[in-house]
C-alpha cells in the first residue's frame, strides 16, 4: 500500500493559493477585481521576504542537525537593524558599509554561538537563547532608549519600491528570488552544502567520511548569524525605523516557516524552497487574520491551530513500528 504523498513545499504553496483565493470572498477581500487581487498577493509576498530571509539562517542551522536551532536570530536582526540605522545616517554612500557591518556583526555572534556549541558542548537551544539575552542586553546599552539615525533614500528605493513604474514587482521580491537561487546553489551545488546535509544525518559517519564536522558546524552558525544580520539590514530598509523589539517577533515564525516548509527539525533533510513557501503561508495567514479584524485572542488560536494542522499533515516523524 503506497501512501498518498506530496512534497511539503508544494503543499504549502497550494495551501497558500487556496487560502488566498478563499480570502477573496471576505467582505473586504479583493472580490472580482483581478488587479486588486494581484496587488494584494504581491504585497503579501513582499512582506514574506523579511521572514524568508531571516528563516534562511534558521534553515541551515536546523539542517545541520544535532538539535540545531538559532534562538538568537531575533536579537541579531534587531542589532543589525540598529547598527545599519546609525551607520547610514541618511547617506547613500554609507549603505555598503552598513551592510558589511551587519553581516560581520551577525557572523561574529553566530561564530560565538558555534564556539559554545562545538567546543563547550552547550546545547544549541540554550546557547543561542543565552546569546539572545546577551545581544538584547547589548542593544539596550547601545540604544539607551533612543537612537539617532536615518535610513538612506537608496535603501528605501532598492528594498521597498517597485523595480520600475511599469513593472509593479517590489525590489524586495527580486532580491529574494536571487537570494533563494544563491541559497539553492549553497545547499545543493556546493561542497559546503553536501557536508551540511552529511553532518545533519549522522555526525559520526560524516566524520569518518572525511567531513570536518567542527569547521562545518562553526561555519553554519556563523553563516546563520550573518544571514540574520542581512535580514535586519533589509528589514530596516523597509520599515525605516528601529525599535528594541523589531526582530524578536520574527524568531519563532522563522522556525515555524522552516518546519512548514518540510525541513526536518531533527536535521539532515530540507530545502530553502520549502522555507520560502513556509514564510509565504505564515505571512498570508497572519495578514488574513488581521484583515478579518479578529480579536488578538482568536487570531492567536487560529494561527496555532493552522500550524498544528499543517505539521500534522506532513511533519510527522517515522513511527516506531516502521
Amino acid at each position: 500500500m503506497r501512501k498518498f504523498s506530496i512534497s511539503p513545499p508544494v503543499a504549502a504553496i497550494l495551501l497558500a493559493i487556496v487560502l488566498f483565493l478563499l480570502s477573496g470572498f471576505l467582505p473586504n477581500g479583493f472580490g472580482n477585481d483581478i488587479n486588486v487581487a494581484i496587488a494584494q498577493a504581491t504585497n503579501i509576498v513582499r512582506l514574506a521576504v523579511f521572514l524568508g530571509v531571516i528563516a534562511a539562517g534558521q534553515t541551515l542551522v536546523i539542517i545541520s542537525g544535532f538539535e540545531g536551532i538559532d534562538l538568537s536570530a531575533g536579537a541579531v536582526v534587531t542589532l543589525a537593524a540598529i547598527l545599519t540605522y546609525v551607520t547610514v545616517k541618511g547617506e547613500d554612500d554609507k549603505v555598503l558599509l552598513a551592510l558589511l557591518i551587519s553581516l560581520a556583526v551577525g557572523a561574529l555572534i553566530g561564530f560565538i554561538n558555534g564556539l559554545g556549541i562545538t567546543f563547550l558542548k552547550i546545547s544549541p537551544f540554550v546557547m543561542t537563547l543565552g546569546m539572545s539575552g546577551v545581544v538584547t542586553g547589548l542593544i539596550i546599552i547601545i540604544n539607551h532608549g533612543n537612537v539617532s539615525g536615518k535610513v538612506a533614500p537608496i535603501m528605501t528605493r532598492l528594498i521597498a519600491r517597485p523595480l520600475s513604474p511599469d513593472i509593479p514587482i517590489p525590489n524586495a521580491i527580486i532580491i529574494w528570488i536571487i537570494f533563494g537561487f544563491l541559497m539553492w546553489l549553497l545547499l545543493e551545488r556546493s561542497t559546503f552544502g553536501k557536508h551540511l546535509f552529511a553532518i545533519g544525518v549522522n555526525r559520526v559517519t560524516a566524520k569518518l567520511s572525511g567531513v570536518n564536522v567542527t569547521a562545518t558546524n562553526l561555519a553554519v552558525y556563523s553563516l546563520a548569524g550573518a544571514l540574520a544580520g542581512f535580514g535586519g539590514f533589509l528589514l530596516v530598509g523597509n520599515t525605516g525605523v528601529v525599535f528594541i523589539n523589531l526582530g524578536q517577533p520574527f524568531l519563532f515564525p522563522s522556525i515555524a516557516a522552516v518546519a512548514v516548509g518540510g525541513t526536518l527539525l531533527s536535521g539532515g533533510k530540507g530545502s530553502y524552497w520549502g522555507t520560502m513557501a513556509g514564510a509565504i503561508v505564515l505571512t498570508l495567514i497572519t495578514s488574513l487574520l488581521t484583515t478579518m479584524q479578529m480579536p488578538d485572542s482568536v487570531r492567536r488560536m487560529v494561527l496555532g491551530a493552522t500550524l498544528l494542522v499543517m505539521i500534522s499533515i506532513y511533519g510527522r516523524q517515522r513511527g516506531f513500528r516502521q
Binding site: 538539535e67 536551532i69 567546543f119 546557547m127 546577551v134 538584547t136 526536518l264 485572542s297
Partner: protein, 322 residues
C-alpha cells in the same frame, strides 16, 4: 580512601555543578543582602521562586523523556485567567477550591493535547508545543482580554504568609515534589522515562510502552504548569493573560543549568529545582548590586551564559591537561 574525582562527580550527579553554582550565588547574595536568611526575607524570596520551581520540575520530566514543552507559559496563563475571572476579588474559599481543581484539570487537558500530537501523531515536540502555545495564550486572552480581576486578598495571603514551623511554605512544596520524584524514579515508570529519553527506538525494541511514556510526560508537565499558575496567581493576586509567556524559556534554562541535558535521558528533577532557585537568586543579586538599569539585561544574560559554559570549560581544560 578514594580520591575525589571531578569526572565521576559530574557523571554520577548531574546536579553537582548546579549545587556549586547555587552555593556561589547564595554567598554573593548574602554579602549584598545580609538579612536574606531572616524568616521574612527568606519567605518573600521563596514565594517568588516557587512558580518557576514547579514549572522547571514539570519541564524537566518532558526533557528527560527527550522532548521539550514550549507551551508551559501558555498553560500558566490559562490557569491565571481562569482563577482571576471565575473566583473574583470577592470570591469565597470554596469557590477558590473549585476553580483550583478546574485549573488542574485544564492543565492536564492542555498537557494531554500536547501529548496526543507528539506521542500518538509523532509530531516534533518543539514545533508542536510552539503551535499549542499560541492556542493556549490565545485562549487565555479570550478568557481575559485585558489585565484585571483577581482573587481575594485573604486567600492570596495564605500563600504569601504561611510559614509552618518558621519555614517558608515553598520549602514544604519543594520537599513534596522531590519526594514524589524520588519515588517515581524508583518505579518501573522511572526506568522507562530514562530509557525513552536516552534512545526511544531502542526502548521500543525492548518493549517499553514509548508512546504512553511520552504522552504522560506532557500530562505531568501540564499538571505542574497548572500548579505553577495557581502559585503565581496567589502570589500576584491578579489576572493577566500574558503572565506566563516569559516563563517558558526561563524554565528551560533552569532545567539545563540544573544539569539535565536537552538531549534527554540524563539528569533528574532535583537539579532543575536547584537551577530555578539559582536563576531567582541571580535576579536578586542583580537588583541588589545597584548596577545601572541599562546594563541589567546584559549582565544577567552574561551570567547565565557563563554558568552554562562553565562545565564545558572545565571539561575542556581537564581534557587538555591529560
Amino acid at each position: 580512601m578514594k580520591r575525589f574525582s571531578w569526572d565521576e562527580m559530574m557523571n554520577r550527579y548531574p546536579a553537582f555543578f548546579a549545587i556549586i553554582l547555587l552555593v556561589v550565588a547564595l554567598i554573593i547574595n548574602f554579602i549584598l543582602q545580609p538579612n536574606m536568611f531572616a524568616r521574612d526575607t527568606l519567605n518573600s524570596n521563596m514565594r517568588v521562586f516557587l512558580p518557576m520551581i514547579l514549572l522547571a520540575a514539570g519541564q524537566a520530566i518532558v526533557i528527560l523523556g527527550g522532548g521539550i514543552d514550549i507551551s508551559v507559559g501558555g498553560i500558566v496563563s490559562i490557569v491565571n485567567t481562569i482563577l482571576a475571572t471565575q473566583v473574583g476579588l470577592n470570591g469565597s474559599p470554596e469557590k477558590m477550591w473549585t476553580f483550583v481543581l478546574v485549573s488542574l484539570g485544564a492543565g492536564i487537558l492542555a498537557g494531554a493535547i500536547n501529548g496526543f500530537f507528539i506521542a500518538f501523531l509523532r509530531l516534533q515536540p518543539i514545533i508542536t508545543t510552539y503551535a499549542t502555545s499560541f492556542l493556549y495564550v490565545g485562549f487565555a486572552l479570550f478568557i481575559l482580554p485585558n489585565p484585571g480581576g483577581g482573587i481575594p486578598a485573604e486567600i492570596a495571603n495564605v500563600y504569601r504568609n504561611t510559614t509552618p514551623l518558621g519555614l517558608p511554605l515553598a520549602f514544604y512544596v519543594i520537599a513534596v515534589v522531590l519526594l514524589i520524584w524520588m519515588y517515581i524514579r524508583s518505579t518501573r515508570f522511572g526506568n522507562y522515562l530514562y530509557a525513552v529519553g536516552g534512545n526511544a527506538e531502542a526502548a521500543y525494541e525492548t518493549a517499553v510502552p514509548v508512546t504512553w511514556v511520552l504522552f504522560s510526560t506532557y500530562v505531568v508537565s501540564g499538571f505542574m504548569a497548572a500548579l505553577a499558575g495557581i502559585a503565581i496567581t496567589m502570589l500576584s493576586g491578579s489576572g493577566n493573560a500574558e503572565i506566563g509567556v516569559p516563563m517558558t524559556l526561563t524554565s528551560i534554562t533552569a532545567v539545563v543549568i540544573g544539569g539535565t541535558a536537552l538531549s534527554g535521558g540524563i539528569g533528574g528533577v532535583a537539579g532543575p529545582v536547584v537551577g530555578a532557585i539559582t536563576l531567582g537568586i541571580i535576579q536578586n543579586i542583580i537588583s541588589f548590586s545597584r548596577i545601572d538599569t541599562w546594563w541589567e539585561t546584559f549582565v544577567k544574560a552574561s551570567i547565565i551564559v557563563v554558568a552554562l559554559a562553565a562545565p564545558g570549560v572545565i571539561n575542556l581544560l581537564r581534557r587538555k591537561k591529560v
